[in-house]
Every structure is written in structure tokens, then in C-alpha cells.
Symmetry: C2
Subunit: 390 residues, 2 copies
């Protein structure tokens, strides 16, 4: 690729990338105490289209009512004011530069509005990754509900990082479709997404950006993140529509632990063992080739899901809406647990291949009639994907 041809190429380039969401399978809450957590990619995807060209930088997120355009001259001015020359390689923003971007966007230091944070993290990635101020029109749509602990901000950051890194030729996303999809590409994307997540979440664990980048499953323990290949598993994702405060739930567990330490500590130990066993089961899934083997593996997984839900109940983070969901699932031969912080929020049902379509449909119907939102989707979905079909 020559420097002569590049501006030409960029001027017409339209790329599309997507990234999955995430659900926690095991380890919610106990992860706070250094126990293992297992997250799975969720095939409700965030899709980003980036069209290079025109005379502005625009960010369009119709799902969350964001539509912003900055004339390219303004962005070039910002670029210059940050102290960059025109053709600067990938760079790490200083704290001062970061403050400068905030004031350019008219944001205070303590912004918490997800819309503002989405714009801010876009600008951070745009300036850090690109070599020069590129006129670009970015549109992001998502099947993921936001602020639900389903990794919507990580999926957004992964799409943005991947697209921008690809556009400046730092990585080549088209290589992801090849077998053994290039761990170095994924590592780079995940690291940039993590940098973006830090802007939104302060001190993210790194689980979300990893699972949204790599897809499949991610094991997390004591700071170590390990991506695991798993085949896609059919799930029902269920929204109780009961709002909850993650912070209050985490504090509630801590208080219970302080009140009855000898009771709660072994429960955390058991939750750790559940995640260990869950990891083992997920790894065994790829070798379960015939129906009977798959059913047997799913039976082991169902048992863990039941125990996990009961232990989350024991540490006080379930909710009548979640207990009811578990009961409805059970009445259809399915096994459900809360996923994420609990206290309402979302539940997940992993569907064994032995469950008939009519049983799944009947369960979905009953859940919907009881006021839940239900998605029939899958976990273990591919991570960041490059869609060159346009």
C-alpha cells in the first residue's frame, strides 16, 4: 500500500464491524472477593458502520438518541491544539490532553451521562488511534439494551477500536475470517477497548472488553483473563424489567458477609468451585460431538446453574421476579439463573439440545405473559467480526 493510493482508498471506504454483548455465567459477586468468574459472549450484537469521506466527523447512535457532527476543520484545530502534527502514529493521551478534549466537548470532569461518555470515549479513540484527522461518518446500532450489565459499552468500544485501527491500517480485520483468527489482532482491539472502557467505568475488570472482542467464553480470576473457545449455546435471555442498583447489591453482600462471615465465606468458596467446574464443562463441550454426549454435558451445566442460582439467593441478591422466572423455567424443564448483579435485572436460561422447540416456545410464552422480555439468542457467539458484504 503506497502513501499515494491511501487517501484515495480511504475517501471511499465503508466498513462494517460488529461485536457481541456479554453475560456472566458464573461468578457474579464472588468475583469481587477474588473468585473465578466466567463470562460468555452474547449474540445480541452491536454493529458499526464507518464511512470515510465528506467534510466532517459525525457520530450517529440512533438507539440512544445521539447524533453529533463536528466540521473537519474544528477537529483539525483540536488536533493541532493537542500538540499533534498531521501524521502522528498511535499515541497515548496525557491527562492534560484528556482534559482538553473534555473542554472541547463542553463536558465537565465528573460527567456520568452515558451519552456524554459514549461521545467522550469515541473522541479518545479517534484521536489516539488515527494518524490524522479523518472525515468520517460513524453509525452504531445495537440489539443490546444499555446499562443492563450486558456489555453494551464494551461492544461499542470494541467496534469503534476495531474500525479505527483497521482504517489506519494498524490491523487488518479482513484476516479475522481466516482460521485461527489472529490473536495479535484481537489482543490489540481488546486493549484499545479497555482503554475506552476506563473512560466510562473508571476501573473496569477487563472481562467485558475481552469477551466482546474474543467471543466464546472468558475466564477471569484474580486479574487473569483467559479466552476460551466454546461452541454457541442456545439461551433465553430474560429481562425482569425490575431496576436494580449494582452498587447497593454489592454492598449488601459485603454487609451479609460481615454479619455472618462463617456462613458466607464457604458460599463464596462454593461459587468459586462452581466457576471452576463450569469452565471444565464449557471446555468439554467442544468434544461433545454426538447428541447423547451434548445432553450429558448440558445436564452437568444445568445442575451448576441451579446450584449457582441458589447460592446467589443465599447471599441475598435474588429477587421475587428472578425466583419466579426460575420457577417458570423449571416448570418447562429448563434451568435459569440471574446473570449480573441480580436484584432484578436479567436472568439467563441455557437450553439443552434435549429441550423441544415446543417446550422452549411454551416457556417463552409464559414468561412474556408474566411480564418478562425474552430474547431467544445464543452465547459463545463470535467476537468482533468484519462484514465485507457491503
Amino acid at each position: 500500500m503506497t502513501s499515494e493510493s491511501e487517501p484515495q482508498k480511504k475517501a471511499f471506504q465503508v466498513i462494517r464491524v460488529s461485536a457481541p454483548g456479554k453475560v456472566i455465567l458464573h461468578g457474579e459477586h464472588s468475583v469481587v472477593y477474588g473468585k473465578r468468574a466466567i463470562a460468555l459472549s452474547l449474540d445480541l450484537r452491536t454493529r458499526l458502520t464507518a464511512a470515510v469521506g465528506g467534510d466532517s466527523v459525525s457520530l450517529d447512535l440512533p438507539d440512544v438518541d445521539i447524533k453529533k457532527t463536528w466540521p473537519i476543520e474544528t477537529v483539525m484545530e483540536l488536533w493541532k491544539n493537542l500538540g499533534y502534527t498531521k501524521d502522528e502514529k498511535i499515541k497515548t493521551l496525557t491527562e492534560e490532553q484528556s482534559h482538553f478534549i473534555r473542554s472541547f466537548l463542553n463536558f465537565g470532569e465528573g460527567i456520568t451521562d452515558p451519552k456524554d461518555l459514549a461521545i467522550l470515549s469515541f473522541f479518545h479513540l479517534y484521536i489516539s488511534i488515527l494518524h490524522e484527522p479523518l472525515p468520517i461518518s460513524i453509525t452504531v446500532g445495537s440489539q443490546l439494551p444499555t446499562g443492563a450489565g450486558l456489555g453494551s459499552s464494551a461492544a461499542y468500544a470494541v467496534c469503534l477500536s476495531g474500525a479505527l485501527l483497521h482504517l489506519c491500517d494498524h490491523i487488518d480485520l479482513s484476516k479475522l475470517s481466516l482460521p485461527n483468527s489472529h490473536p495479535d489482532i484481537l489482543k490489540t482491539v481488546s486493549e484499545w477497548a479497555y482503554a475506552s472502557e476506563k473512560i466510562v467505568h473508571g476501573t473496569p475488570s477487563g472481562i467485558d472488553n475481552s469477551v466482546c472482542t474474543y467471543g466464546g467464553a472468558v475466564s477471569f480470576k484474580a486479574g487473569n483473563i483467559e479466552p476460551i473457545h466454546v461452541p454457541p449455546l442456545k439461551v433465553l435471555l430474560v429481562n425482569t424489567l425490575v431496576p436494580r442498583s449494582t452498587k447497593a447489591l454489592v454492598a449488601g453482600v459485603r454487609e451479609r458477609k460481615e454479619r455472618v462471615r462463617a456462613v458466607v465465606e464457604p458460599i463464596l468458596t462454593s461459587l468459586d468451585a462452581i466457576a471452576d467446574k463450569g469452565l471444565e464443562i464449557l471446555c468439554s463441550l467442544k468434544n461433545a460431538n454426538v447428541y447423547d454426549e451434548q445432553v450429558a454435558v448440558h445436564e452437568a451445566l444445568d445442575e451448576l446453574i441451579d446450584i449457582n442460582q441458589a447460592l446467589l439467593c443465599a447471599i441475598g441478591v435474588s429477587h421475587p421476579s428472578l425466583d419466579k422466572l426460575v420457577g417458570i423455567a423449571k416448570s418447562h424443564g429448563l434451568h435459569a439463573k440471574l446473570t449480573g448483579a441480580g436484584g432484578g435485572g436479567f436472568g439467563i436460561v441455557v437450553v439443552s439440545p434435549k429441550i423441544t422447540k415446543s417446550a422452549i416456545d411454551a416457556c417463552c410464552d409464559e414468561l412474556r405473559q408474566s411480564g418478562y422480555d425474552v430474547w431467544c439468542t445464543s452465547v459463545g457467539a463470535p467476537g468482533i467480526s468484519f462484514h465485507n458484504d457491503i
Copy 2:
């Protein structure tokens, strides 16, 4: 008391005794693995009337359709055939004598019918305890459902042992109404009830006869039984009316433990800690004299009940009927757990003094409308009692 006056006294004597049932508060299933269990006396009582006199020995248990009469001559013949002289002090039956009694009653060796076992254990106590064949008419009625794990056979054995020991002047039950109710009397009754329970249950733990004799609470760990004084606590006892097999449930826990040992063992450790904490809380109840203190203690107890139920769920011994009961109780501000083996059977709700009568009534109504049987009763009730009001 002279030997001249005694036959005269006995000929007209009518006594009444009663004993409570029992519920497990903490430790069901984990007790199998050497963890602590806490049982509480249940104020659904078994009442026995013994009338000395007439020319026969009769046993009348209208609740379970037993009405048997043996002419006193036949009983005297049995007495002689067992090798006893007329005035024999308390005695331990040999295996041979025990077989002889079975054949006298036309029972085989492997009898399992509760009615047969009730008759057999009566005869064992009658012959072991009494000094001579006494014409007597015994009637037993009970508020306790039988075969429900609520200590009905122990309450029966405690009443029988107490009445027979009193009638032969081995103990004086009238002294039980005095303060500091004579531990030696209770110990004797409990030991005889245990001997009778061995006939019915093979290898009873000793929990049931202890709690039905002493009342209050009993802590049991690794063979050590410790009676604890507790004030009466209001409870709802709830029958799911779902039949269950204790044996299958115990086996199910063992299988789960073998499958996922690292997951189940810490749960058993936590259940042990719950029983330890429960014991501490029960002991603190007698010092909670004012309303606020009582409410605080009950809050701690409610939290343990919630955690305990969740952990029983985690080891696989709950049931949709129990989960539903827990949910209904929770919706009225009450805390429920299964009691006993689980898988259906009974649940218990301990009622804090802060719960209004209307909330209790509403909960009972909803439970009954949902198909449960409900008793408003209390636990921590007095043990064996002597009723000289007739």
C-alpha cells in the same frame, strides 16, 4: 407409700401427660455429614390418658385407627412366659424376649406398618417399665400428622414412657411443674423413649426423643445432644401436601456431593455455620426482653432462615411447592424454609413480633387458597407435661 395402699391407689388412678412434636430449624441433610442440627419442640401435642383398673390392657389410638384390648390374664401369661416373677423392677429385654413379644402379637420380624410398630413399642415399654402386669386403659390422641418427620412417634414414646414410669413410681411427673424441672426425670423419660424409638426407627439419632421430652430446643452435633431453653416462638407450620421419600432425598444429596464435591462440601460447611449461629441467636432470645431487642434477634433469625432455605435448594432438596411457599411468605414480609427432608413435606415460617396479625392472617389465607395446610402454632414449647386437672 406402703405396699398395702398401692394397689388401692393404682386401681383408681387416671393420669394425663402430653408431649410436643419437633421441627428441624437448621441442619437437615448436613447433619448426615456430622454438621450441627437444631431441633425445636413444636406445640402440636400428643396427649395420653392412662386409666388404671379393669380387667384388661387396652391401647386406643383413634387418630390412627388402633383399638386393641388384651385380657389381663393373657398379659399375665405373657409376663410369666417371659420368665418374670410378679413383682419385677425395671428390666432390659433380651433379644429372645423381644422375639417372644413379637410372636405374642403375631408380628413377623420385619414389620414396617406404623400401627404394628406403635403396638409393639407400647408392649416393650409396658413390660420393661412396669413391675407387674397392670390392668390399664391407654388412649392417645395427637395434633401431629404422622409419618411427617414431625416427631409423632417420639412424642408417643415420650408420653408412654413418662406415664408408665410415673405409674410404677419410678419418677414423679407432678414435680415437673416445679421450677427447674428435674433434669433426672427428663433424662429417664428421654432414655426410655429412645429405647422405644429404636424399635420403630432402627437407629434413631436421639434428637426426636430429646426435644419431645425436654421441649425448647435441642442442639445435636456428632452424637452430642444438648437441650437449650428457648422462649416460645410463634410459627406457621405449612404442609405442602407433596409426598416425599426421605431416603431418596438423602441419596440425592450424596450423589450431588460425589459429582461436584468441591461445590457441595463448602455448602455443608456453611450449613454447619448457620446452625452454630442459629444456636447463638436462640440462646440470645431469652435475654431479649424489650420489643426492639426481640425484633433485632428475629431479624438475624430471618436472615439465617433465608440463607438456610437457599442452601437446601442448592443441594437439591427443595421443591416447587416449597419455593412457592417461600415466595408467598416473602410477599407478606415473612421468612420460610423447608423443615425436615424437603422435596415437598413441610415448611416452617418463624414469625417476628413485628409482623402484624393481619399480615399473618393474609399469609395464612393465601397459603390455604394455594392448597397448603397451615397451622398457626409455636415452637420452643414445653416438653413432657403432666396434667393433673382431671
